[in-house]
Symmetry: C3
Subunit: 547 residues, 3 copies
């Protein structure tokens, strides 16, 4: 495959790059791409019978009788732009093929480097939630994960935090490298705002707080020509060091140098995990129906954001991760259930774990073929429900999730929308019902006791207040408590190693804030001063406390 | 031509499909398509002189000197996406060619089937107002019209009704087949709402009420893979019959079985007709100017909707239909006047008929060449007016149609917009004038007495209240009366055969409604019970009354 | 090059046209275009070393080692639609190449015509601010400038005026031809409004008032087919002369005939100039960052519009123009400073001139390579400032320009946005500061005394009220006074020759207006009547006064 790719690369490198970009609406029609795709498919399916079954080509009479009939999905075959496809199976496999092909290219380079310098770690710049590459697969071939962090001025800080946690999760919690960030501004965003004073430092420590062992920058000097000449740099076009940006960067360098290797290789400890899966995402994005309003990453972020605001440390994990280490596992919109994952979830819950999932889950297997016998398919025994129908709401429509009775923080009713599963409880307890429409009174939130644990199903996409209350309840039940008593806008994380704990306090507010911390934290690593109980942070200020 | 198409089909079937789709912005550049187009043109024009005249190629020095110089309109020749073209004549003929080519393919299949089973009717799924195929031409080669009805949750019910009437009109009122509808939801709409309880039954009877002799569904079972797996089915993915959707479908089946063949081949009787023409539509959509806001189908629907709300039965007809059977013929935006149609309209009016047309009518012939000598061209004698100029209004601009005196339901003034013809009465009576701008006081509504009848011209696109009042007046004059005294949201139609009349009452409201019907209706076919005078319909309820 | 172009033209003329159109998102991939581009580059750069330096191809490892590696920017090389490019230098040169190629084609035709008719002036239709052609270069090869003026109903009249002034500026003030305008309406605009009565005459005189020596129309007759058949004409489709449009056109013809050659070759005299440069525009539009909200032509128009509303006559000039004739030179967003232009500006100011420029100026040279050493680069000595950073504001963000003290019409504070330069005064006087954000208190308006003159820097994009006040101050200082005392909506210009002055008064209001003029104007050329001091203009009325 790498051979195919290297061959292709020779002639049209830009196409190679854009093939994997969702910003490019074009397709490739060349025979070499087709041949490479066919090789990959032969390795995966062995026979055309298997392939025809996997893609359900009986539909619309598309059975393939010869491998040479297969071409990549494009506007002369099965796709028509913007993730619209006639054959979800073909398009899904094509995305896997493209991710694998680029990965093969990376591996080729990896091996060439290792031959010469076997002891130097090899990595490549990842890009967070970049849609086109399955980074869980990539990470297996990287010595250390590294990534480029380019939030915009209006990116929620919890989204950046979630992305750091995902990058940390790629290799099971191993610290990562912050490979690129800008000291001041980007050039490729629509509106390239300057990082306000203190923000570069704050965001650098946010990376460290969530598992980075390096803080690096792109770029040292601004280039004088081509498309990144207005990308911020440590040394601006003026060419000297007497700039705000240089001073802030140099000051951060001094701080980090003074910190030494205290934090290196320390780990974050989380009892809550959120499941994120690229192939599930591709399948959801390729789905024709029920609603174009469904955005997998947004749904993931809604749950993450609740935990973030509570300062509950959370792991972002893939479906191959071991679940035993967690008390609570949340898998929003788990549309695709891969082989063995339902059983893994059952074991987790049976052993006492709490599992939360949502509408449009358990629908298909890894081939995007529906698990017949009633939604949520393989998850049905675990959840104790049957979803008979799935209603899609218009953009201005909402329904209500009405609590049958007050349960801890959950009380009254909450808005919901996008999709509404029409479910029947089959053993599960109904905690809330829909408040409107012809399915008023049908279950909207259920809890199923399964072994020693319980499994929750949220039948629609709720407002944040609902998620906040539900997760607060679940954490309380499990004794998962916030890392500190901090006001809104103050982010708290904890890294530990060798009996030392490092508590990071990050004040994203422009104003001063006060945090109450446990008595075990006795010194501030950045100031070197002793602390006790109450910490006052300047606007955009940072403290790293240790025991 | 079928040969050309079959030849093409072999290599790129998807392109064949998308060629005729307005959702696809691409073009074909292949030589075989060009050759097929040329063959079709030779058959139509015989000589290049005729072709050059038809396309007015003197403009911009585009005269063709050799057939091989002709290629399909694309971005290397004369089109540039979104119906934008340099040569309306070429683009118009290309649309005719594509409709004819697919029709030839259909005919090929038709003949192959007829050879084996000469006595079985042959049809193909039409799609209502689908823009790219001239269904009036297609219907000539179909034994029975059939179509796929997929309204969205927010499609006006009068639009669905209009589409049924158009499908019925394709073969002069002959009953048609409802070939496809979903029992629950689509998958390809942006937001695939469930059909609320009762709606599938209500919409099924709406089809019957307007001429369907079958009620069929796509699909029996949901497929497990590919792009229509979330399209509703009688049997859902759960695989059994214990679902709302199955129960509603089975119940409808029982009702229809009990109805037997009572309604089969009964006809609707209309004294009002609205003219719709695909080639006129193509020409309007291809026109460069006067306004991108002009939407032919919307203008058609505005007039249909008024009649629908009055429960005045209306035929949707093509320009080849015999007009003698009607009292009132309405042809909104009759931009293209085909050979003989003006004369047919004159005969119709001279014999006592009432004709209504609007702004931007009578402009061109079937080649999209302007009829010089003053708008509305061939319609000028019939209408007794001259349109000197055509003003296009900005989206937020309106003018007023001010009645010179109260005429029945027409009184005061009405809003209008999009285009304003600046007309002079040349024998016509001026009933209303513009209320604003430099053409304030010029005619906005005229009536011309012609033989025993009269011809109306509406010089701008009016608000619905104007159309309601005008059509109420005209129907009253002609003694065309509503089928029943029904409240808003209740649709009424009548089918008849062999001395029997079947009155359909369809309550589109979620609430109960009461309708007064004539004494001739004595029984309810669905309940089998006797009725008299006043009928109460449940929310989304249906009654079929007969004498 | 012309050979290359003629060669290309033979096969795909439409592509030739659309290559240079910003409405077309496609690219050319053919070898002949690539070969032509390479020839042009060889002539410009001689060696690949020079080319690699000019394009800064070290960035992203794009060094070219063979001329044949170079292809035009397209989606397989360096561009990706909508002015987005990886290499600004390549894309900028490609725009130069395309402008030059079409110009070569024009020159070929020019020479062919001149061979036969050496004494007849040759021109070609220009199109105002058309983005893709560098008309300052074209004008050098035209005997007389001519252009097509097609404002929409909602085009600001000051924008039309600015465009006339730009066309006049192409050949240093030489009168131009109004080659095309419509007598009534266009066909290719979204909403093709009719020119209201009097507007065609008013806009015709506006052209004359700003330097046109001809008033011509497209078209005499409306064609009967193809894409311009709904473009207005002197003779409408009705085919006779009894139309409003014909009458207005004929009446204008009579007026112009009666004026004789009185105005021919008279000149406009301006003491204020605004610099506009196509290559600067291309470079700004191609820039990746800092903000997509920056629109060069809009910024130019903001300054022009202020002067227009004051009836201060202004020249639109290129960077090759002699500046000695002006008191005030304004160069908004002078991002690209071409060789020698900074020195020309320094000489102009040193000799007593007033220079005004803005944020995002002095950044690059003619190759789009940054002038290192601190913004505004070559303009830094003249302006006495250093711009350390450039902040981009979100669309709903603004800052304030706060005057440090009242200066003439400048008082209080003003809104600003888009970009905010963070500048330091290095000799310049700070007249206003930012009112918000972390750069509150940094300079927002500076004045640098340089020799006998002064140079102003406006660090952000201000609201019009600020521009009005600043320019009013500068004009007052220089004794540049309005041509007349006219109310809002009345445009005033003056042409002169041989001791005669012609004062044009153009009332763009629908209502009557009164203007006070100097005692030197004693007669109205259109009415032939004597005038004195106060002139009353009808709505949309025009007067041409002379001494």
């Amino acid at each position: 495959m790498a051979g195919v790719l290297a061959e292709r690369y020779k002639d049209h490198p830009a196409l190679l790059i854009w093939h994997v970009s969702n910003e490019y609406s074009g397709y490739c029609y060349c025979e070499r791409c087709a041949a490479g795709f066919r090789e990959w498919l032969k390795a995966r399916y062995s026979t055309l019978d298997h392939l025809n079954q996997a893609w359900n080509t009986r539909f619309w009479g598309h059975t393939f009788y010869d491998w040479d009939e297969i071409v990549p999905p494009n506007e002369l075959s099965e796709e028509w732009g913007g993730n619209r496809t006639n054959f979800q199976g073909i398009s899904l496999d094509y995305r896997r093929f493209m991710s694998d092909s680029l990965l093969d290219c990376y591996k080729l380079e990896y091996r060439a480097i290792k031959e010469k310098t076997p002891n130097i770690p090899v990595t490549t710049n990842l890009m967070g939630f970049y849609p086109e590459l399955n980074y869980f697969e990539w990470a297996k071939s990287m010595d250390v994960v590294s990534w480029d962090n380019y939030p915009a001025i209006d990116t929620p800080v919890s989204f950046t935090a979630m992305t750091h946690d995902l990058m940390r999760g790629l290799k099971g919690g191993q610290p990562f490298m912050l490979m690129e960030q800008t000291p001041s501004q980007q050039n490729w965003q629509p509106y390239n705002s300057l990082k306000r004073p203190g923000v570069m430092r704050l965001w650098s420590y946010q990376a460290v707080a969530r598992g980075a062992d390096t803080v690096m920058f792109f770029q040292l000097r601004r280039s004088i020509g081509a498309c990144e000449k207005f990308h911020g740099a440590v040394i601006e076009h003026v060419g000297h060091e007497h700039t705000r940006v240089f001073r802030e960067t140099a000051e951060l360098g001094r701080e980090l140098q003074q910190l030494g290797d205290k934090l290196l290789d320390s780990r974050l400890d989380a009892r809550v995990a959120i499941v994120y899966d690229w192939e599930n995402r591709w399948a959801i994005e390729l789905s024709s129906g029920p609603s174009i309003a469904l955005n997998y990453v947004n749904e993931i972020h809604k749950y993450y954001d609740s935990l973030f605001r509570m300062n509950i440390q959370t792991d972002m994990i893939g479906v191959e991760e071991n679940l035993d280490q967690y008390d609570i596992v949340i898998a929003p919109v788990l549309y695709m259930v891969k082989p063995g994952f339902a059983q893994k979830l059952e074991r987790f819950v049976a052993a006492g774990g709490t599992f939360v999932t949502t509408f449009f889950s358990g629908i298909v297997n890894e081939k995007d073929l529906v698990t017949i016998g009633g939604y949520p398919g393989e998850l049905r025994p675990l959840l104790g429900i049957w979803a008979e129908e799935i209603d899609a709401l218009l953009p201005d429509q909402t329904n209500r999730i009405v609590m049958k009775q007050e349960i801890g923080a959950l009380k009254g009713s909450y808005s919901c929308g996008i999709l509404c599963d029409l479910i029947h409880a089959e053993g599960a307890e109904v905690l809330a019902e829909y408040g409107a429409d012809f399915y008023k009174g049908m279950p909207a939130l259920t809890r199923n006791r399964f072994g020693k644990g319980q499994a929750y199903y949220i039948a629609s996409s709720p407002e944040s207040a609902f998620v906040d209350a539900l997760l607060a309840n679940l954490c309380e039940e499990k004794g998962v408590t916030p890392l500190a008593d901090a006001p809104a806008g103050v982010e708290v994380t904890r890294r530990s190693k060798d009996g030392s704990s490092f508590l990071f306090l990050l004040n994203h507010n422009a104003e001063e804030a006060t945090v109450k911390v446990g008595p075990e934290y006795t010194q501030d690593l950045l100031t070197g001063q002793a602390v006790s109980g109450v910490i006052t942070l300047a606007g955009r200020g940072v403290s790293i406390l240790s025991n």
